[in-house]
């Protein structure tokens, strides 16, 4: 049974009324992020990790490295895999079981953002052409769900990738011992998410704002342009709304990158 907070209706009206006046419940401006904290190497046993706090939202990204067979069409290229888990610990609305469409969407949008930004130098991850390459697994684990997992998750993933140390590969086996060399990561892809509530468009939605949203747009930003985008929600955006959100995302992406 899906959990429904009986007070959503009231909270949502409140968010709508404030938005119409250009205000937000936590006093932020429409284009402000909540306070962001990034702690890298949060899980020292993992090759790479980062904990991101974005307001009350907390996401850990952990990186695992495995050796595996490359895809036949890219025999000397490493492999990237991205997952997201919305574990019941993080919110009364999350359920145990196979990944929900929401979790799948988050994982795939972050995956696209990292992949398409060409951030990881995949060709350097070849161990033996056609036989063995490094597989980089990014797992986002939500600890507390208070809105905007897209941005927090992507920031955690990118921060963790930048902090990842390579493992040793000997006689066909991975030795779980962190090396000095780092994972070859060149860029800092980040995501900026906006939601539309009534006619107002705001950055970095809180939980109540996310429940009240009509539509959502996420931009995956890399240093010089766009590498991913995803619209969600049952409502729509006009072209000018998309244009101005995108302009702002270009600015905000720079701010986010400073945390890495």
């Amino acid at each position: 049974m899906t959990f429904i907070d009986p007070s959503w209706g009231v909270k949502s009206d409140y968010v709508h009324n404030l938005a119409a006046k250009g205000e937000r419940a936590d006093g932020r401006g429409m284009n402000d992020y909540r306070k962001i904290e990034v702690t890298t190497d949060f899980i020292p046993h993992a090759p790479g990790s980062a904990l991101v706090k974005m307001g009350d939202t907390q996401v850990i990204a952990g990186i695992s490295l495995q050796a595996g067979k490359p895809y036949s069409d890219r025999p000397n290229s490493g492999v990237l895999m991205t997952g997201a888990e919305l574990v019941p610990l993080a919110s009364p609305e999350f359920e145990a079981g196979p990944p929900s469409p929401k979790a799948v969407e988050i994982a795939r949008v972050v995956d696209r953002c990292i992949r398409e930004s060409d951030s990881i130098d995949m060709d350097k991850l070849c161990i033996e052409k056609g036989e063995a390459v490094w597989m980089v697994m990014v797992d986002m684990h939500v600890l507390n769900y208070a809105g905007n997992i897209f941005d927090a998750g992507c920031l955690a993933a990118t921060a963790a990738l930048h902090n990842t140390k390579m493992l040793k590969f000997e006689d066909g086996l991975v030795i779980k011992e962190k090396q000095k060399t780092k994972l070859p990561v060149k860029k800092k892809p980040v995501e900026c998410t906006f939601v539309k509530v009534g006619d107002a468009v705001m950055l970095d939605p809180s939980l109540d704002e996310e429940h009240a949203l009509d539509a959502r747009i996420t931009f995956g930003m890399v240093e010089k342009g766009l590498c991913a985008a995803q619209k969600g929600g049952k409502g729509s955006f006009t072209q000018p709304e998309i244009d101005s959100a995108f302009e702002l995302a270009m600015k905000k992406a720079g701010e986010l990158r400073k945390h890495i």
Partner: protein, 243 residues
């Protein structure tokens, strides 16, 4: 997207591999009301894409906990047949189809008057029989026709088309090679008479200016798809009888 190759996607005259101009869509053909069992249905061919959509409902909502007292629950299922792609696709749900189903469902929620049928559900099932790039747009365009054909009240249709980057050009409606070797893909869906954007995705590498050009071009493509949707629904009752 982004596979490396020496293939030239656009020749010196600005023609694409299949001879299309930069802003030219692949041929699109839609037929409404093709399945007898379904409440509404549509068959669509778009380039080499072949897609069939069926709508059932509104009907009793199962599982019951998905029912909403505020309106009908849309359930969109995008599915690729195992034989639709060169390498057999393992049957059943995967992450890609889960995501496409979710955002397509949300897009249709904007136009369907779900509040007319509280506690019920409307199933929209789309099968991709042959895939040739742009299947999510093809599926959504067909689904919208099937919904109208089921007599389900809607504010408007939803029409979908993608634009992308092949070589150094922003082009409409990527073909398969352009999808594999191109630099970016921007699938979009709009509500035709208001121009509202109900689905927007992007992957690849685009400058801010290119992104805007791609959206403008995709919007044009959506309007072309809309014209075909309209034709299909009008044709069903032309000349005095249902076929």
């Amino acid at each position: 997207m982004g596979m490396k190759s020496d293939i030239k996607l656009i020749d010196a005259k600005g023609k694409r591999l299949d001879g299309r101009a930069i802003d030219e869509m692949r041929p699109l053909k839609i037929e409404a009301g093709v399945l007898e069992q379904a409440d509404g249905s549509a068959y669509l061919e778009w380039g080499n894409n072949k897609v069939i959509a069926a709508v059932y409902g509104p009907r009793e909502c199962l599982p019951r906990h998905k029912a909403s007292p505020y309106g009908s629950t849309l359930m969109y299922r995008y599915n690729m047949a195992p034989f639709s792609v060169d390498d057999r696709k393992r049957p059943g749900r995967d992450r890609r189809s889960t995501e496409i189903s979710k955002i397509s469902e949300e897009a249709l929620n904007k136009v369907v008057l779900t509040e007319r049928f509280p506690n019920s559900m409307i199933n929209i099932n789309v099968e991709v029989l042959q895939a040739d790039a742009g299947t999510r747009c093809a599926a959504l365009t067909a689904a919208s026709v099937a919904l109208a054909d089921a007599g389900i009240p809607m504010k408007d249709m939803v029409a979908s088309c993608a634009a992308g980057k092949a070589g150094d050009h922003i082009v409409l409606d990527l073909g398969k090679l352009e999808d594999n070797f191109g630099k970016a893909d921007v699938p979009m869906a709009i509500v035709p008479h208001t121009g509202e954007i109900v689905l927007l995705q992007m992957d690849g590498d685009l400058s801010p200016k290119e992104f805007k050009t791609a959206m403008t071009l995709a919007t044009k493509g959506c309007m072309m798809a809309y014209e075909e949707q309209k034709k299909a629904l009008k044709a069903k009752y032309k000349g005095g009888g249902k076929k």
